[in-house]
Symmetry: C2
Subunit: 333 residues, 2 copies
């Protein structure tokens, strides 16, 4: 009954907005059958996620680039890993990543568990030579022996369990109760008139045909970016340097195909796009309409849509800081 009411009101409010897009963000993320979420895993995962000792230099943790004290990323154009190295892509937000069907900008990981394994041994991110080295290092830290035992049983420090724990923690990183969610729930004052106008405009323009679903991430959807242009904007923002999915698959048909990213909390995650080349949200909105939908938005329409996007900023759960177990003298060389 509650759900029915939501759908009806959402349709009434948003006109042509798809039913799928007009659902509030769930407050619990689904977990895979082989990694049910437990408190012990979340506790361990939070420790690992914030532990810079998972990097070669001991200075870069998952949280360094996907900062849970910020909007789940680093507010940089491209992320910076060990020894000040930079890659070509902007760190995606970890908040609500649990609602993505695929991870990374190119969607090459099909789960949070698979994603968590990647950056640790990427030479320009966390720079560990191998997961064997990570496991060996963790085994020297007595506190981790205990934390893994609680989560997975005795002598259970492994790549598989470390990434399961990190994924379990990430499934708790959800930001419900945005003004938009409250509005959908019946609180008509939760969004301003401008935000409502922007919501309607976003549907009308076509934003939500890709950015669909409760997380506005068209879960599992890949799209070509950019689609329409005369080449001017691609050159200005270097959009074509990185071939997206094709960098992984080497298929021509995957060139410039990208995962549809979430719009949840997008107001917090400047700069924008896969290479972080666009500094402001209004420019990002204008460019998306131009390049993807071949529409030139007026300044007023852009302002309205940006106002709506601000209504997608959710409530961030209060988190306690993990107390990381001590490093014995032998952990680092």
């Amino acid at each position: 009954m509650f759900k029915f009411r939501l759908l009806v009101s959402a349709i009434a409010l948003t006109g042509s907005m798809s039913v799928a897009a007009a659902e509030p963000l769930p407050s619990v993320a689904p977990a895979p059958a082989d990694n049910p979420t437990t408190l012990e895993k979340v506790t361990l995962g939070k420790m690992l996620y914030h532990d810079p000792r998972l990097s070669s230099t001991g200075t870069v943790s998952c949280a360094s680039c996907h900062n849970t004290m910020l909007g789940g990323e680093d507010n940089r154009a491209v992320a910076m890993g060990v020894n000040g190295q930079t890659g070509g892509r902007s760190a995606p937000t970890v908040w609500n990543a649990a609602f993505n069907k695929v991870q990374f900008w190119d969607g090459r990981a099909d789960s949070l568990e698979a994603q968590a394994a990647g950056p640790v041994t990427n030479p320009i991110e966390m720079g560990m030579k191998s997961w064997d080295d990570v496991v060996a290092r963790l085994k020297t830290i007595e506190g981790y022996q205990h934390a893994f035992e609680k989560a997975f049983g005795k002598d259970s420090i492994s790549k598989e369990n470390a990434t399961k724990a990190i994924a379990a923690y990430e499934r708790t990183l959800i930001t419900p109760n945005s003004p938009y969610d409250k509005y959908l729930g019946g609180d008509k004052d939760a969004m301003t008139k401008q935000q409502i106008r922007g919501m309607e405009k976003a549907v009308e323009v076509g934003c939500t045909s890709c950015h669909s679903g409760p997380a506005f991430n068209g879960p599992g959807m890949f799209q070509k970016f950019p689609v329409n242009s005369n080449g001017y904007f691609e050159a200005q923002y270097h959009f074509l340097k990185d071939k997206g999915l094709a960098e992984v698959t080497k298929k021509d048909s995957d060139e410039h195909m990208w995962k549809v990213p979430t719009l949840r909390n997008v107001a917090l995650t400047a700069p924008y796009f896969h290479n972080g080349s666009v500094k402001t949200l209004d420019r990002a909105v204008w460019l998306m309409a131009k390049l993807q939908l071949n529409k030139e938005l007026s300044d007023g329409d852009v302002a309205d849509i940006v106002a709506f996007l601000n209504a997608l900023t959710g409530e961030f759960p209060t988190q306690t800081m993990p107390q990381l177990p001590a490093t014995p003298g032998s952990t680092f060389n």
Copy 2:
């Protein structure tokens, strides 16, 4: 009466241990008259302390090197700042730094406020060109305008107030109730027999003649390091490369003079000494006795003293993570 009992029992327990050393760690740190600790300052200071946007690259916060999730430092030999740069010194712990009369290894800052100003504009630490640039950046972040207003009044974003807030937060980073403190408080089972033996040995050998006071930091005391040696250990561990206080004052008499560091939580802060060249606590203890007191400790004495030092690991207060205010698109270039 309570204090009297403490002193009597401490003297009885520790024989020749100085009275000053036998006081438990206070649970509240003193604040200077011009910067009384307030909740609003602590809240703001915690945000600033954990905010990597106080560095040129947006990747290094105070907490990067002085990690409050760990033992208050980074478990590295020497700290790593922006763009992977390293200096010659090991990051001192921030826990209980409020009980140091001077800050930095060379003691060049006489307050937490003065210390907090340093790393932000150090080119190999946080790398900001000037505090004017820091202030300009903070002013673009609306959430900081509000947080400064609550702590210091309207339009109050400044270097002085930022460092005051950081210092106010650091004054809350205290780890009371170590086994040693509980033992002093009358709980005879709080320390093991070996730890009690180690405590007595530390006094007998002379450790506590410098590492004195409740924080075992001889507050305000400078000592020459190393004092006695045949040169072998100095060369092995590169102890003489850095001239300590003389690097600041340029005075010959200050060569190799160093602040006496706290022994609180020392079991968590490997590797050891000003250049982090000594990996384990047992080696550090042996070397200190040899180089400072000209005594060669037996393995058993070293093990006992290390056991005692483990009894100085306190209780770390549960901290919530600050939610850092959003970066507008214009914050970074």
